[in-house]
Symmetry: C2
Subunit: 272 residues, 2 copies
């Protein structure tokens, strides 16, 4: 990073990450698209329409912004072509192409567009490296050896899916795959696992592996867990969670550790 | 098939397939493991404990059985080692190994064991070829061209999963993966898809692809759809379903066609 880095803009989605990024750089400009719920005071937020990217870039430059970080969750935006500004119209063909290519396609395009405009795009883990962890046991009880057999299987399933741009999470119990994360996210996956009929589930518990897609650009859609992930895992009857060291954000680590202790759920970080 | 084939035994799971197989061969012996719900009159069923495979094989041979077909759905059985007979004890190490290898592992072992005992193991599609279909449109409206883009993406996702022995079904809408079938089956997958929050789903409908795993032995766990699959797809808001020609069973084709017409859901069979 430059010795005197320019101002940071946080493109804020929903969830608690934007506020955590803002803590690290109190001077940061907070930007959000119309319609996004952001957990920061509205007066701090500069709002833009997704159709007016030209206007967004202009106001970022006027505010002295040289670095941009995206944080939080987004629903895929509905774009009204009638409201598009000149820049957005020029981008339209690339956007249409990216939409067909899965989620990472559109996110990669967002990075490209910011970089084309001269901004440095950072990952949340670069702004807040303290939100990731080194390999090792992070919280909860020591895993049983049986659980340690399910972890590599869950990772193999996610690895298999990487080329088709699907899957940041997978639950495996006794070798059986009980769920794969899709668009709906980790909490929905864990609810689904928890609804497995007893005649299929038996007395199996299972583990969640939360991992970036192989080859994923961590500057967008970086996987994250928080206390609600642990609560959801407990409700789903799981015995533990493994995350990728340095590549998964832990939002509210004390809350995560307390939930792991309370529910006797192990949390491991494994080397990537 | 032999000119004078020996008697057929139907190893019956739950669902309507066992009765459909019995229709094709009224002379067939119906066998079921204790605890399996079978939709045939109980007096027609010869019951066995899963732990007493030696006894099962003996009684099949006494009844003149030379061919075996498995049909229906099974929960993975709980096996009580204390009740195992001599044959079952000899098989124990292979069973333990197979259990770790995912669902296909245990099913492949079942076939091997029957074949070791001299039985010919048939697929349900061989006993009832009329339950599968040739490529073409089977029912419902003509698919929109947008849906035809989602079908190959869903197939690519299933193909990617085949090496890790997961996935006979996948839902894709506008390029986005909304769900992947795991142990819980197609109906659970479709319920999950139907619960996608509107802010993520938007006005996307989506398609289900139902396909055997690449390299799957069709003699066990052959994919199947029935009228309830169409009903579940309608509830999930889908616009259509594609199945593998000749490799997916349609249980109750008139019922399936009527449901497709009623809910305006297309059903295609595609060449494999």
């Amino acid at each position: 990073m430059d010795a005197t880095p320019g101002r940071l803009a946080i493109i804020a989605g929903s969830g608690r990450l934007p506020a955590m990024l803002a803590e690290a750089e109190p001077d940061a400009l907070i930007v959000a698209f119309d319609g996004t719920e952001v957990s920061l005071p509205e007066p701090r937020i500069q709002r833009h329409r997704i159709e007016k990217l030209g206007g967004l870039f202009k106001s970022l430059k006027q505010a002295g912004v040289t670095r941009v970080v995206m944080g939080g969750a987004w629903a895929r935006p509905e774009i009204s072509p009638l409201k598009a500004d000149a820049l957005m119209l020029r981008l339209a063909p690339r956007i249409m192409q990216a939409i067909k290519g899965g989620d990472d396609g559109i996110l990669r395009l967002v990075i490209e567009v910011f970089e084309d405009q001269g901004f440095a795009v950072m990952g949340a883990h670069e702004v807040r490296p303290d939100l990731t962890v080194a390999p090792g046991q992070i919280a909860g009880p020591k895993p049983r050896s049986e659980a340690m057999v399910d972890l590599p299987r869950a990772r193999a399933i996610l690895d298999a899916l990487a080329p088709v741009d699907v899957g940041q999470g997978c639950v495996v119990a006794d070798g059986l795959c009980l769920g794969i994360e899709t668009l709906q996210g980790t909490d929905a996956l864990l609810r689904f696992v928890g609804e497995t009929p007893p005649r299929l589930r038996g007395n199996r518990r299972g583990v969640l592996v939360k991992w970036p897609k192989r080859g994923q650009d961590l500057r967008v859609d970086m996987p994250a867990i928080g206390p609600q992930t642990i609560e959801a895992a407990a409700k789903a009857g799981l015995e533990g969670i493994a995350i990728a060291a340095h590549k998964v954000l832990i939002l509210d680590r004390p809350g995560v550790e307390a939930a792991c202790t309370r529910h006797k759920i192990f949390l491991l970080a494994e080397a990537t």
